[in-house]
Amino acid sequence: MTDASMDNAAEGARRTISLYADDDLTRKRNAAEKRFQAYGIAAIAAGLFFLIVLLVSIVGSGVGAFQQTFITVPVYLDEAKLDKNGNRDVEDIKKVSTFGYNPLIEQAVFDKVTENGIATPLAKRGDMKALLSASAAAQVRDTVIANPDLIGQTVEFRILASSRVDGYLKGRVKREDVERDKNIDAEHLDLVDAFVASGVIQKQFNVDFILGADASESRPEQAGIGVAMLGSFFMMIVVLLLSLPIGVAASIYLEEFAPQNRWTDMIEVNISNLAAVPSIVFGILGLAVFIQFAHLPQSAPLVGGLVLTLMTLPTIIISTRASLKAVPPSIRDAALGVGASKMQAVFHHVLPLAMPGILTGTIIGLAQALGETAPLLLIGMVGYIATNYPGGIAEGFLSPNSAMPAQIYEWAKRADPAYYERAWGGIIILLVFLLTMNIIAIILRRRFERRW
């Protein structure tokens, strides 16, 4: 069978390999091996490097948004200006617009200059305007309207500084920049330095960023993500209430009851394709079906929730089916064996056992929906809309609102760089939510995971 002569010829030519001495080829091959391994390490390192750069830029640029510069001054609430009639009637007081309050606040700041003996070329009360947020007057006015008895007294207020002052303290606004800036001058910055030294101006934790409403383009110091957070919350409620039952029902049918036929095949193909349809297409669907056709209100969290439900359903169905599949057939057999119907076997035994997996998948689907932006833009959740707290639960679902990622996008689009800090800060909050949801999912999985 073998060619004997050839074998013998080969015998003489057999290479003898010494195990100890490396030859050139082996050295070359080992070098190639090292190189290849280095590529792998480099790839992992690149991935981790990008992650670190990403996290560092998020935290580095966003953490500033949680601090805001405030000016603490005692404001004399002059009766002659605020309540000319002197009867403390709220209706009368309301007639005084914010313009009436501005001089009082500016005067209060100006008094601080004299009080601290700060030498500044800014000799007029009106020069203080550049230090103050445009929202300061409204803040004081709201306090007075809420409590008219304060009129005539001197009350200490913590007032938002203007975004330029805030930016100066945070290093965003540099001295060389202000030459071209018509909102603030170098003299103002000198004054700010002096005020910081005397404790009038301070950076403090800013709870309004987390809980507050969006503000107009010119008042970045006032903007908060709280209303958009509520918008996201109401959307997630819709997504949870719709996608969990529908997803579970669909999965149970497909996994436990569906006969092998064309209809089932079609559903399966549809689900796997929908999972890969770009999210913006779901936005187009929402715009055409829910708003154009069904005339549901634009920008409403209800519509946002519906769109996100359709988008997350495939994800939830896929993970739910995996959990159902993981329950061994012996459980079903056991239930059927004691005379339970198929429906009873599924609902009494299989479903409870699969529940931890289903919940984990649902939370991950929700986290995905929470971070989604593109479809929301198409149904109108963009622009300056997250300005009012919803008045109740119905309004929460139906009145125009934004969502966290859409609010972040809105801020990123605005021209004032002060809004970039807000956008990064918003991302921190969004990521904290996502992280929490993922940790809950991991804990659920760890605690209840069962190996069959």
């Binding site: 069978m1 073998t2 060619d3 050839m6 074998d7 080969a10 015998e11 057999r14 290479r15 390999i17 010494s18 195990l19 100890y20 490396d22 080829l25 082996t26 091959r29 080992n30």
Partner: protein
């Protein structure tokens, strides 16, 4: 052809190829091989037999350091091939494996053509300078693998398209192509039908001309048919090692006797 154990087989003392002393293998905390000493001769077929899980395959994989690819596996003791300790730091396992080829339980041709399957080893070890050299090596190896006549007309067809027995002979040819000195075979016939098994066994007997062959087998008949030396493993211990004829007709250890008469297994 080899149906009965041939006690009058050629049993001349031959050059010792592999010398193992005090070999211990641990998988994590499991002690898989306990203090095994064995000498494997050149140009001889040595069979490792024993019940499942006795460590015969593990020991086989120590001989070309295939266990290195398993993270939790640890080997102690000394294994020398031609006097070189293969667990020495200077030894490159890659070079060792070129010298000690291996054939596996299940035929595992690469998803490439028959030609490329054979040429793979020579290529990575730089055995051929020209295309003609490579063609020659491929032909020679396929002839040695006793499969040349069946595949010579379709060298560029995928190796996975062959039948199980052909695939296994292809894998043997592939192992031979790197010009090894020792061939390790881990139950090479367990996935084959009786006819393919007979063909492979015939091939093993021919390979003995040039190589030291070590074969792990489940089948005692196979060990008796193809080997000159037999080692019986039980629970990680080498119980008995000697001439195949002697082990099968007159074993010294009672455990060996029980195993070959079918009382333990």
């Amino acid at each position: 052809m080899y149906d009965t154990p041939n006690t009058e087989r050629d049993v001349d003392q031959k050059e010792i190829k592999i010398e193992a002393r005090g070999v211990q293998v641990f998988y994590g905390t499991t002690h898989a091989i306990k203090d095994v000493d064995v000498d494997i001769e050149d140009k001889t077929v040595t069979a490792f037999i024993g019940p499942s899980g006795c460590g015969k395959s593990t020991f086989l994989r120590c001989l070309n350091r295939m266990n290195d690819t398993i993270d939790i596996c640890r080997v102690e003791g000394k294994i020398e091939i031609d006097g070189d300790d293969i667990y020495d730091k200077r030894v490159d396992p890659v070079q060792l494996r070129a010298k000690v080829g291996m054939v596996f339980q299940k035929p595992n041709p690469f998803p490439k053509s028959i030609y490329d399957n054979i040429a793979y080893g020579p290529r990575i070890h730089g055995l051929a300078k020209t295309k003609a050299d490579l063609d020659e090596i491929v032909e020679k190896s396929l002839r040695r693998g006793a499969i040349w006549d069946e595949v010579k007309d379709r060298l560029h067809a995928p190796g996975t398209g062959l039948s199980g027995g052909q695939q296994q002979r292809l894998c043997i040819a592939r192992a031979v192509a790197t010009e090894p000195e020792v061939l390790l075979m881990d139950e090479p016939c367990s996935a084959l039908d009786p006819i393919a098994t007979a063909q492979v066994e015939e091939l093993i007997d021919e390979l003995r001309e040039n190589y030291s062959v070590v074969i792990v087998t489940h089948s005692m008949q196979q060990a008796a048919r193809v080997s000159q030396k037999t080692a019986f493993f039980h629970l990680g211990n080498l119980v008995e090692f000697g001439e195949t004829g002697k082990i099968f007709t007159n074993p010294e250890d009672s455990r060996t006797e029980s195993y070959i008469t079918g009382r333990i297994g």
